[in-house]
């Protein structure tokens, strides 16, 4: 890798050796302690509640959720966009930073990639959960059928189907490919069913020179393939809104605005995940302030873009001269949902500005707190865009106010549980820090001291 010596390399932690790395990381696969199982138990319980709520909703109909026409999309689509957004950071860190040769990514990219896959898996549930007749969800796929019916390729929802499924495929591939050498190295330490699992997932990796050559080349290509997806997926998701005529949705700024927001929220979610992961699995030696500092910078940059986008939205609403736009944005800020809008603006546009201070960026507790607020703010951003715009559209007589009900909340909570369940299972069974890549950036052990 490019730099073996990093200017801000931590000094208070002794450099691990190759052996220590393997041992430390593989330790996460051992007995993780009681807190892990308690956490998993809670997550499974919440997931069960979410599934129960979903079954109840399927049985009785979408009416059990809070929908209040004209707000026909609400918390479920908010959740969908939120989770798709979360999914962005993984690819950014693993692919784009890989292409830019940023060494600091090595310690965090596995977490980010796993998060990506699980977030897409979570996001993908919601377009189905929100369907009136979810048992016909497969009609959205262009499959050959006797009736010769074809989906409508003009509909942004169909673009979504392709964008999200492509993204899921590529990010899963990326994760699996990245895992191969690592899994191979823990395969040799594992026993029982795990060994079988690793044997399969390591795809016969032996670490030969030829394998390494092919592997790095493949990884590079995948990174190149995944990079445009970072931009495309959330652009397509944003077009669900931008292609409509709803005031507050129909705007050209949406694609870049959504992408920035997605990376913003994704990085925040990485921070949210890394902090407990680091302490639960005792990975302080691999994930340290440096990483948070860098993530903080990304969050600061994207947060500033997001804040700028908010400003531009209001400016355009005023500049357009359209009374519908103006009133929609006035309603956003000062209407019955003012609290949601201001939560979003304060959490996203203002709180992220604290990250100008290196002290805050390098303080893990403060990063953790800020990341939680960013997650909250970004969830509200989608809520504001979706719910608040819909509740104040063209036809005054049809305006109404939506409030989520317990089914919305339970299914939302269930989606978090679903995400965390996968993440916890992954962390327990696969190396959450890349063994090979971390090894790549530490100085080559030679006789005597390292050269630098």
């Amino acid at each position: 890798m490019a730099t073996l010596t990093e200017p801000h390399a931590p000094t208070h932690v002794a450099r691990p050796t190759y052996g220590e790395i393997t041992r430390d990381v593989a330790a996460t696969l051992g007995h993780p302690g009681r807190s892990y199982y308690v956490l998993l138990g809670i997550v499974l319980f919440v997931l069960a509640c979410g599934i129960g709520a979903l079954l109840y909703q399927i049985k009785l109909g979408l009416g059990v959720a809070g929908y209040q026409p004209p707000v026909m999309w609400a918390v479920y689509i908010t959740d969908f966009v939120f989770w798709v957004g979360i999914a962005h950071c993984g690819t950014l860190i693993s692919a784009i930073l890989y292409l830019f040769r940023s060494a600091w990514r090595t310690a965090v990219y596995r977490t980010a990639e796993a998060m990506t896959v699980f977030a897409v898996m979570t996001a993908g549930l919601f377009p189905v959960v929100h369907l009136g007749r979810l048992w016909y969800a497969y009609w959205l796929f262009p499959y050959p059928n006797q009736r010769q019916l074809w989906p409508n390729f003009k509909s942004p929802l169909l673009w979504d189907v392709f964008a999200v499924s492509t993204y899921f495929t590529v990010s899963t591939l990326f994760l699996i490919v990245g895992l191969v050498p690592d899994v191979a190295s823990i395969r040799d330490r594992a026993a029982g069913w795990r060994q079988k699992l690793y044997r399969i997932t390591s795809l016969g990796w032996r670490g030969t020179d030829v394998q390494w050559r092919h592997y790095t080349r493949a990884y590079l290509y995948l990174a190149a393939l995944a990079t445009p997806l970072v931009l495309s997926v959330h652009s397509v998701v944003s077009w669900d809104f931008a292609m409509s005529i709803v005031p507050g949705w129909h705007t050209t700024i949406f694609a870049p605005y959504f992408v920035a927001g997605a990376i913003y929220s994704g990085c925040a979610m990485v921070v949210t995940l890394l902090v407990p992961l680091r302490s639960v699995f005792k990975l302080e030696r691999y994930i340290h302030e440096e990483h948070f500092d860098n993530l903080g910078k990304v969050i600061l940059l994207t947060g500033t873009i997001v804040g700028y986008a908010y400003f531009v939205e209001y400016f355009i609403a005023w500049y357009s001269g359209s009374s519908f736009e103006r009133e929609a944005f006035w309603f956003r800020a000062f209407g019955s949902y003012w609290w949601a809008t201001w939560t979003m603006i304060i959490c996203n546009a203002f709180l992220s500005q604290l990250l100008w201070f290196p002290k805050i960026r390098r303080s893990i507790p403060s990063m953790f707190v800020i990341s939680l607020f960013v997650n909250l703010g970004m969830w509200f951003e989608r809520f504001v865009i979706i719910v608040v715009s819909l509740s104040h559209e063209f036809e005054p007589f049809a305006m109404d106010h939506y409030t989520p009900r317990w089914v919305d909340w339970t299914i939302t909570a269930g989606s978090f549980a679903w995400f965390f369940m996968w993440f916890l299972l992954f962390a327990k069974n696969f190396p959450t820090v890349s063994l090979t890549e971390v090894k790549e950036i530490i100085p080559m052990p030679r006789k005597g001291a390292a050269r630098s």
């Binding site: 009785l60 109909g61 979408l62 009416g63 809070g66 929908y67 209040q68 026409p69 004209p70 026909m72 999309w73 377009p127 929100h130 369907l131 009136g132 007749r133 979810l134 048992w135 016909y136 969800a137 009609w139 959205l140 019916l149 074809w150 989906p151 409508n152 003009k154 509909s155 942004p156 929802l157 169909l158 189907v161 669900d240 292609m243 409509s244 005529i245 709803v246 359209s322 009374s323 519908f324 009133e327 819909l390 559209e393 063209f394 036809e395 005054p396 007589f397 049809a398 305006m399 109404d400």
Partner: protein, 1002 residues
């Protein structure tokens, strides 16, 4: 069938295959479809083909003619009878909902008797008749009473004969909204016992003193039609309408000017107008006005201004307008103004008409008064007799005194003392639940009957289908009792059945209409056209001496109290419609509230009292108290509050019970000077501190300057320079782009037309809605529910905005602070956009464009993404949040036998599916098929949508926009025409014609 497959075998195979299909269908999530076996076909019934029967609506005494559509032996829709002299093919909401009376799940299924333990148990009809006979044999004739609703036909005569047969003459007819005041006033002013007939169509200037003539008063459908024909803008001319009432009623919302006098002073305002007309000799009176001098002298505008709060200049101006812009018409004393001084109000309108010379022109008098007199004083007589133990047998038919009377009367308690009470009600209403013997009558659609709402109009009812339940027509029961009892009753009533009795009566009617043909020919013709009618000579009247003695007894609420108006709900009338879910879910035309009662309070008053919308307010009068949520209504005087009547039932079935509060509780039992119930009371308001979310369909009552419901003033319309709302300018698409869009669309049409069945489609269906005709009555909404199988969702779901009305009447307010308050109605339905935002966003092509310009919706294909709903700027797409179509589910909208009214031509949508107005595509296709079968093209106006067909004011026109000669094409080109949200370039197929207000420039 030469290959050995004979008919029998063919049917067998068909049967087996059908069963197999049904069994398979049982495994899927779709509801099971049941086939109708017609192995032995019924003569004159072809499956899939409708039969139409003419009959008469009995939901109110007006007597509108019906055409009932019957499919496979069940009535599925009622329409107006186009050839009928009263409603001319139009119907109101209540008539549309009469089917829900027929199929109401809470109808009493058969005869019931109260047993020793006080519970009802079924009884056989013969036993029931025997019980009545034995009871009647035991008591004196004078102790037998018969209470009915308003009956004007043969049945009334039968009851008289029946009672006479047992030595009784105690027949009472009680109608809560009687016309006692009007009748008394007519007697006072003109000395005749008759009711006036108003010719709204001929009047160019109408002034109403509280009369809700578009809602419940007299004959609302007929009056709506007449009023709009006389008033609406056409050919550069229009009428003018001024409404004088402390509360802006639905009728008042159609007015060009609203004058809000102090409650109870409407009559004085009318007299002051008459004073000005006589004083200034503004008009040629219908006769000598000398006797009026004393009365008019005490009503000089200046004096009346002080009393009524209406400035003297306004009175003078109205008087001059009224006299000069004739032919004019003053109507008054409707149930909206039934206070202690109502008799004067009605008399004042008569006088005003008289001094302006309208009597004989727009006001005429019927040869006899057939509309209900009310009979409240008769009812009081009955109650007193019952309380004193003087009544031993009481028959009740078509009246519900336990509900629809002020509680102070003690009707329920008194009736409880009667030892043998027989109710003929179809429903478990408040009176029936206290009866001893319950003998449910047929529904009006199941029975033979007739009525005579006015002289010369003999209207016939015929059964349109087999009875739904084990009911029996009351007239037949009475005939049975008479024959079993023997004696005089049996001698008088010899008819085998009521049908025979009725026919005998119609032989006499044939004579009176001067028809000399054989009776059978006459009878068949009457059945076909719904009755017989002839022009009658109207009575000429002149001022009676008693006119001078008309007393003005000012009614005012005491200091510190509010004047309460208990007004008849335009949808429930006196409460008899409250058990129809369509009517419960129909938003009140004024407040847009469903499934509840409310008290209307002026926003300023509410602010003063610290009351917010939805706060539960205790309304207390001397007679009683009710607690209802507050609705802040700018269309009411600050010193007046209003509560609609018709809700608050304690029985009457699942849809009516415990909904809202009964405003009769606030009314005094003491009769007013004219003999009826006073619908005004002095009340105090108290905020209980509790709150509920009002179940209303209104979002924002102000249109935020978006030009949704546009209006202009008459002066501008007449000059031909109509200013469109600025939103229209935004629609100006650059010519180049417009040409491109047109090309794309034309190409699409060409494409469609060359393929398959679309090759035949050359029409572009469109609609024109004239807002200067729409009165907001909402009949179209109920008609749409009936035609298109729209489910009702209930109060909680309306609160959550999930009502399914494909057609909704939006009601916007304009002004109210510095300028006069103005209400505008806008019927909003799918605009069938040419460039529809809903279509491209559907991922599965459930929303698509038909070649004839409709926004189609394939329910079967819809997966429920609701994207179309979000993208529809008009918000006319409705989603099935729950399963309304699943029998047995809690959300099932048509509990048995209500499901029998479902239109077999329209799919019942299941949960998770988006639905919307399709311009009644089933009717379009039906008529297209008919035209193809007969081999001639469709004629303009042949296809009528359900909303258009029922509209009492002819506001809706439907047709082919591609045909330049069609009425709708011409209207679409009208200078008043505009499209809602035109700037979005959705290119709607619905053109709205601006409302025109005939205002006086200040």
């Amino acid at each position: 069938m030469s290959d050995g497959l004979d008919r029998r075998r063919f049917l067998k195979v068909l049967g087996v295959t059908g069963t197999g299909a049904a069994a398979l269908a049982g495994c899927s999530s779709e509801p099971v479809e049941r086939l109708i076996p017609y192995l032995v076909p019924i003569e004159d019934q072809v499956p899939g083909v409708s039969t139409w029967y003419a009959s008469t609506c009995r939901e109110c005494p007006a007597g509108c003619g019906l055409h009932v559509r019957v499919r496979e032996g069940r009535a599925v829709k009622v329409e107006g009878n186009p050839g009928h002299p009263i409603n001319h093919g139009r119907l109101c909401s209540r008539a549309q909902a009469s089917l829900q009376g027929l199929y109401n799940p809470d109808r009493i299924p058969g005869p019931m008797v109260r047993n020793a333990s006080g519970q009802f148990e079924p009884i056989k009809w013969d036993d029931a008749i025997a019980r009545i006979t034995s009871q009647l044999g035991k008591v004196q004739g004078s102790r037998v009473w018969f209470l009915t609703g308003h009956e004007t036909g043969t049945f009334a005569g039968l009851i008289q004969q029946f009672l006479a047969g047992f030595g009784s003459s105690n027949r009472i007819a009680y109608e809560p909204f009687g016309y006692e005041a009007l009748r008394q006033a007519t007697r006072d002013v003109f000395g005749v016992d008759a009711l006036p007939i108003y010719d709204f169509g001929a009047a160019r200037y109408v002034i109403s003193f509280g009369a809700d003539f578009l809602e419940t008063w007299l004959s609302p459908v007929e009056q709506s039609l007449g009023f709009t024909r006389g008033h609406a803008f056409a050919d550069g001319k229009m009428g003018r309408f001024v409404h004088v009432e402390p509360r802006l009623s639905m009728t008042g919302m159609s007015a060009d000017e609203w004058v809000a006098p102090v409650a109870g002073s409407e009559g004085a305002v009318a007299l002051a107008m008459a004073h000005v007309i006589v004083r200034d000799r503004l008009a040629r009176s219908s006769g000598d006005t000398g006797v009026l001098r004393a009365l008019l002298n005490t009503h000089a505008p200046a004096d009346v201004a002080a009393r009524s709060g209406v400035p003297a200049e306004t009175i003078e101006r109205l008087a001059r307008e009224f006299a000069s812009q004739g032919p004019s018409l003053a109507v008054a004393g409707g149930v909206g103004a039934q206070h202690g001084n109502a008799q004067l109000t009605a008399a004042a309108a008569h006088i005003l008409n008289y001094v302006t010379g309208n009597v004989g022109r727009t006001v005429s008098f019927d040869a006899q008064a057939t509309l209900p007199g009310g009979g409240y004083s008769d009812l009081r007589r009955l109650v007193q007799a019952a309380a004193g133990g003087q009544v031993e047998v009481l028959f009740v038919h078509g009246a519900n005194p336990a509900y629809a009377t002020p509680p102070g009367l003690g009707a329920a308690e008194a009736i409880a003392k009667v030892s043998f009470k027989v109710s003929f009600s179809r429903f478990w209403d408040e009176t029936t639940t206290a009866a001893d013997l319950v003998l449910p009558d047929h529904d009006p659609l199941e029975q033979w009957n007739d009525s005579q709402p006015r002289a010369g109009a003999y209207l016939l009812q015929q059964p349109v289908m087999q009875p739904v339940f084990d009911t029996r027509q009351t007239a037949d029961v009475l005939l049975g009792v008479a024959q079993q009892a023997g004696g005089r009753a049996a001698r008088d009533l010899t008819a085998e059945s009521y049908q025979d009795y009725l026919k005998a009566a119609w032989r006499r009617i044939q004579g009176s209409v001067g028809d000399a043909r054989p009776f059978d020919v006459f009878w068949m013709e009457c059945l076909q056209q719904g009755g017989a009618w002839r022009e009658t000579r109207r009575r000429t009247v002149s001022l009676a001496g008693s006119a001078a003695r008309v007393a003005d007894r000012p009614w005012t609420a005491p200091e510190g109290r509010f004047a309460l108006l208990a007004y008849p709900s335009p949808v429930f009338s006196d409460g008899r419609g409250a058990n129809r879910p369509w009517l419960q879910e129909l938003p009140d035309p004024v407040t847009k509230i469903t499934w509840s009662s409310w008290v209307e309070i002026h926003p300023d008053t509410a602010q003063r009292l610290g009351i917010a919308e939805g706060d539960l307010v205790e309304v207390t009068s001397e007679a009683g108290a009710i607690t209802v949520p507050a609705y802040l209504y700018p269309g009411i005087r600050p010193d007046v509050v209003a509560v609609p009547l018709g809700q608050g039932h304690t029985a009457f079935g699942r849809y009516a019970k415990d909904v809202g509060a009964n405003a009769y509780r606030l009314l005094a039992a003491e009769p007013t000077p004219f003999g009826g119930v006073g619908h005004y009371a002095a009340v105090a308001l108290r905020n209980t501190g509790a709150h509920e979310r009002i179940a209303k369909t209104e979002g924002n009552p102000r249109q935020m300057g978006r030009g949704i419901a546009q209006a202009t003033v008459f002066a501008e319309a007449a000059s031909g320079k109509i200013e469109k709302h600025e939103e229209a300018h935004a629609a100006e698409v650059p010519e180049k782009i417009q040409r491109l869009l047109d090309e794309v669309q034309q190409e699409q049409y060409r494409d469609w037309r060359t393929r398959g069945s679309y090759a035949l489609a050359t029409a572009h269906w469109g609609m024109a809605i004239d807002l200067s005709r729409c009165t907001g009555c909402s009949a179209c909404v109920t008609a749409c529910y009936a035609e298109n199988n729209l489910p009702t969702v209930g109060k909680e779901m309306v609160r959550r905005g999930r009502e399914m009305s494909w057609m909704r009447i939006e009601r916007y307010f304009e002004g109210g602070h510095d300028t006069p308050l103005e209400a505008r109605f806008l019927p909003m339905l799918c605009q069938q956009c040419g460039n529809a935002p809903c279509e491209p966003v559907c991922p599965v092509f459930a929303a698509y464009h038909t070649a004839d310009g409709l926004n189609g919706q394939v329910y079967n294909r819809c997966v429920g993404t609701r994207y179309c709903g979000n993208n529809c700027p008009y918000k006319v797409r409705y989603f099935n949040w729950y399963d309304a179509s699943e029998p047995g589910a809690a959300t099932f909208a048509w509990p048995e036998p209500l499901h029998l009214l479902l239109n077999p031509d329209v799919t019942v949508r299941s949960k998770g599916v988006m639905e919307k107005c399709t311009f009644c595509v089933q009717r379009i296709r039906g008529k297209q098929h008919e035209a193809r079968m007969r081999g001639s093209p469709l004629k303009d106006g042949e296809i009528q949508t359900a909303c258009q067909q029922t509209c009492p004011s002819e506001a809706i026109v439907f047709g082919d926009l591609n045909d330049p000669a069609s009425q709708v094409s011409k209207l679409a080109q009208d200078q008043r025409g505009y499209a809602v949200l035109e700037g979005l370039n959705t290119r709607p197929s619905v053109t709205y014609l601006q409302k025109i207000r005939n205002v006086v420039e200040a």
